[in-house]
C-alpha cells in the first residue's frame, strides 16, 4: 500500500534484549575481538609512543616511556604548514570531486534509469580505475604531466606556459591527483542514493509550479543529501591522511607535503617515532572533530 512506501524511514521499533540478544552478542564476539586486536591495540600503542621521550642512551631511534606532551607542541610548531595544507587540499579536492561526481551520479542514477545497458557501462567506467593499482595510476599521471611531456610542451608552444614552467610538484598537480583518485568514492554513494529517488516526486514538484532548477534545489538535492554526506566523508577523510599523491615520488614537490608525507618521513627516515605518532593522533582527533561537526550540521546523525 502506498502509505508504507516510505516505511523504511520510520523510526525502528525498540527491541528488548532477549535470548536472541545473547546469541547476537556471541556472534559479535569475533568482530569485537578483531577490533580490539587490530584497532584499539595499535591506537593505544600509538598514543603511548607519542608521549615517549628521547632515550638516555642517546641512540637514534631509541625512546623511553614517558609523558612528554612537548612532542605535540613540537609537532605543531614544526609542521603547522603541512597540517594546514592537508586540510586545505582535502577540502578543495572534496569540493571539486563533488562538483564533478554529482552530475555523473545524477545522469547514471536518474537519466539513464530506463536504459540498463548504458547504466551498466557508465557504472563500470566509474569503477574501472580500481582495476589498476592506485600507485600505477598516480604514476601514470606523473608521466603525463612530466616536464617533457606532450601536455607541458603543448602549453609551452601555445604560450600559456613560460619556458621554465612545470606541473609536477605544484599544488595543482597534487589536488588534481587527489580529485582523480577519489572521484569513484564520491560518485558511488551519491549514485546509490539518486538511483532510489522517486521520479514521481519530481513530477509533483513541476506540477506545483517549480521549474526544473527549483525542483532540483527543493526536492532532489535535499533528498540526496545522505548520499552527498557519505561521499564527502569517504573522500575528505582518506585525502586528509593521503601520503602517496603529494609525495615527491609521485605528483608532489618540496612545497606540497601533507601530514601523511611528514608522518612517513618521521617514521621511516628520521625515525622520530614520538613526533610521527603525535602527528597521527592529532590528524585523527581533528578529523573526528571536523566530521562530527559536519554531520551534526547537516542533520544526518544517524549516519554515524
Amino acid at each position: 500500500m502506498a502509505f508504507v512506501a516510505f516505511g523504511s524511514q520510520a523510526p525502528a521499533q525498540e527491541q528488548k534484549p532477549t535470548k536472541t540478544g545473547r546469541v547476537a552478542l556471541i556472534l559479535l564476539l569475533p568482530g569485537l575481538f578483531y577490533l580490539a586486536l587490530f584497532f584499539i591495540t595499535p591506537l593505544i600503542s600509538l598514543i603511548i609512543t607519542s608521549l615517549k621521550q628521547a632515550s638516555a642512551s642517546g641512540v637514534i631511534g631509541r625512546y623511553d616511556y614517558g609523558f612528554e606532551l612537548g612532542n605535540y607542541a613540537y609537532a605543531v610548531s614544526q609542521y603547522a604548514p603541512q597540517i594546514f595544507r592537508s586540510f586545505s587540499f582535502a577540502l578543495l579536492a572534496t569540493i571539486i570531486a563533488l562538483a564533478i561526481s554529482y552530475p555523473i551520479a545524477y545522469f547514471i542514477g536518474v537519466k539513464a534509469r530506463d536504459k540498463p545497458l548504458l547504466q551498466g557501462i557508465l557504472l563500470t567506467l566509474v569503477v574501472a580505475p580500481f582495476f589498476i593499482s592506485f600507485l600505477l595510476r598516480t604514476f601514470a599521471w606523473k608521466q603525463i604531466f612530466s616536464n617533457d611531456s606532450f601536455i607541458v610542451n603543448l602549453l609551452k608552444n601555445i604560450g600559456v606556459f613560460g619556458a621554465d614552467s612545470y606541473i609536477i610538484g605544484t599544488n595543482f598537480a597534487v589536488v588534481f591527483g587527489l580529485v582523480y583518485n577519489f572521484i569513484p568514492f564520491m560518485t558511488l554513494p551519491i549514485y546509490a542514493n539518486l538511483d532510489r529517488l522517486d521520479i514521481r516526486l519530481l513530477e509533483a514538484g513541476s506540477d506545483l509550479y517549480a521549474s526544473p532548477a527549483k525542483t532540483f534545489q527543493k526536492v532532489t538535492l535535499p533528498l540526496s543529501l545522505p548520499g552527498v554526506i557519505s561521499g564527502t566523508l569517504l573522500t575528505f577523510i582518506p585525502i586528509s591522511g593521503d601520503y602517496v599523491v603529494a609525495s615527491r615520488d609521485f605528483l608532489g614537490g618540496p612545497d606540497t607535503a601533507m601530514i601523511g608525507n611528514v608522518v612517513e618521513a618521521n617514521f621511516l627516515r628520521i625515525q622520530d617515532y614520538p613526533t610521527a605518532s603525535a602527528l597521527s593522533v592529532m590528524l585523527m582527533a581533528t578529523i573526528v572533530l571536523l566530521v562530527s561537526a559536519y554531520v551534526k550540521r547537516s542533520g544526518t546523525e544517524d549516519l554515524l
Binding site: M1, L201, L208, S211, K214
Partner: protein
C-alpha cells in the same frame, strides 16, 4: 512566471489528441470537452490510456498530435510548472523530507504569493488535518496522506484539478467516505475536477459526466444515469455494471419495437433504444431489471420471457442475491433480486422462467468480443 490563475474552474478541451509510445498507441484521436466547474470522470480498465491522457493535460507527457485548450488558451506546449493545473497523484507523491505544512505550502511558495503558511493552514483545515501540520508525511495513515495530497493541490486554486485514482489505495469504507468529502469540496470550491478511475461505482457516484474509455478512445460519454440505463456498446454494457447480452438477427423492426431471433427465442427491445435495427445485433438487459418465476408467465408482447432454466449459482451480496440461471439453448443469465423478504423462495437447482420488460432492453451498436459480425 505568467500563469493565468482565475481562482475558479475553467473548461478543458482536447482536440484530436494522439499519443504514441514505442510499439503502441496509448491514446488515439481523442476529443473531449469538459465544461468549467464540472466533476468529470474518465473511467476505464488499466491500460486504456486514461492516465496517459491525464498526464498529457498535466504536461508530464506531450501529445504526439492534437491540442489541449484550457479556458480557450492553448497550453499544449507549456511546461507542467507553467500550467494552472494541479494533480493529486495516485501514490500521493508527498515530499518525504518536508512537514505536512511545507508540502501544502510548496505551490504557494513557488508562485511567491503572500502568507504561504497561513494559506496552507487553511487548506489543511478544509481537509480537517490542521492538527497534523508539523508531522512528516510518512507518519500519517493512507487516508491522511490522501487528504494532504488533496490540500496541496487545492490550495493553489487551479483552473483544473486532476485526480489520478487518488482513492485506489484506501480501504472500501474510507474510500466511500473520501468520495463524499471530495464531492463536497468540489461543490464548495467550484473547480473543474477531472477524475481518472477504474472503479465504476466511484465514477458514477461522484461525477456529473462519465466518459468510458477503452483502448485509447472514448466509447461513450454522458451522465452516469444515462450511461447505465442505455449503454451503446458492448464494452460499456459490461464494464459499467453487469449486463445480460443476447445476439441474433433482426426478425422484425417497426417504429415501436425491434426483435431478434436468439436461438429460436424472440427477444424484443424498443426501437428508440436500439442503435441498430438490421442485421446481426446485440440486445442487452441489466440483471436487476430481470425477474424469475416458478411457473411460466402468460405470454405478453410487453415482456421478454425465457425459460425454463435451472438455477446453478446463488450469491448472497447483502442487499441483493445474484442468481445464475442456465437455460438450455440460451446460456447463462444473471438475475439480481433484492432481499426485501418478498422474493420467491428458490433453491439451487430449481426450475424457473426469466422475464423482463421490453422497455428495459437496450440495443447495442456493436457485438461483444468474440461474436463474429456476419450476416
Amino acid at each position: 512566471m505568467a500563469i493565468d490563475f482565475v481562482a475558479r474552474g475553467q473548461d478543458l478541451e482536447l482536440k484530436g489528441i494522439r499519443k504514441e509510445f514505442p510499439g503502441f498507441v496509448a491514446v488515439d484521436n481523442l476529443d473531449l470537452h469538459i465544461p468549467a466547474g464540472e466533476f468529470f470522470a474518465l473511467l476505464g480498465p488499466s491500460g486504456c490510456g486514461k492516465t496517459t491522457t491525464l498526464r498529457m493535460i498535466a504536461g508530464l507527457e506531450s501529445p504526439t498530435a492534437g491540442k489541449i485548450l484550457l479556458g480557450g488558451k492553448d497550453v499544449t506546449d507549456m511546461k507542467p510548472h507553467e500550467r494552472p493545473v494541479n494533480t493529486v497523484f495516485q501514490n500521493y507523491a508527498l515530499f518525504p523530507h518536508m512537514s505536512v505544512l511545507e508540502n501544502v505550502a510548496f505551490g504557494i511558495r513557488r508562485r511567491k504569493l503572500d502568507e504561504p503558511l497561513t494559506k496552507a493552514q487553511q487548506a489543511l483545515a478544509m481537509v480537517e488535518l490542521e492538527h497534523l501540520a508539523q508531522r512528516k508525511p510518512q507518519q500519517l495513515s493512507g487516508g491522511q496522506q490522501q487528504r494532504v495530497a488533496l490540500a496541496r493541490a487545492l490550495v493553489n486554486r487551479p483552473s483544473l484539478l486532476l485526480l489520478d485514482e487518488p482513492l485506489g489505495a484506501l480501504d472500501l469504507k474510507l474510500r466511500r467516505q473520501m468520495q463524499i468529502e471530495l464531492k463536497a469540496i468540489q461543490m464548495e470550491v467550484g473547480l473543474t475536477f477531472l477524475h481518472v478511475t477504474h472503479d465504476q461505482e466511484e465514477a458514477m457516484d461522484m461525477a456529473d459526466t462519465v466518459a468510458v474509455m477503452n483502448q485509447g478512445h472514448i466509447e461513450q460519454m454522458g451522465a452516469p444515469e444515462a450511461l447505465y440505463d442505455r449503454p451503446k456498446t458492448a464494452f460499456v454494457a459490461k464494464f459499467l455494471g453487469q449486463s445480460n447480452i443476447f445476439i441474433g438477427k433482426v426478425t422484425e423492426s417497426n417504429a415501436e419495437t425491434t426483435s431478434i431471433d436468439f436461438n429460436g427465442k424472440k427477444i424484443t427491445g424498443l426501437t428508440k433504444r436500439s442503435e441498430k435495427t438490421s442485421g446481426k445485433i446485440a440486445i442487452g438487459v441489466r440483471p436487476e431489471k430481470t425477474h424469475f418465476h416458478e411457473t411460466e408467465p402468460k405470454a405478453d408482447p410487453a415482456l421478454n420471457i425465457l425459460g425454463p432454466g435451472e438455477i446453478t449459482d446463488i450469491r448472497f451480496t447483502g442487499v441483493s442475491n445474484q442468481y445464475q440461471i442456465d437455460i438450455p439453448g440460451v446460456g447463462e443469465i444473471t438475475v439480481f433480486a433484492q432481499n426485501v423478504g418478498r422474493s420467491p423462495v428458490v433453491e439451487l437447482g430449481a426450475k424457473v422462467f426469466v422475464s423482463w420488460k421490453v422497455e428495459h432492453s437496450f440495443g447495442l451498436a456493436d457485438l461483444p468480443n468474440g461474436a463474429e459480425e456476419t450476416d
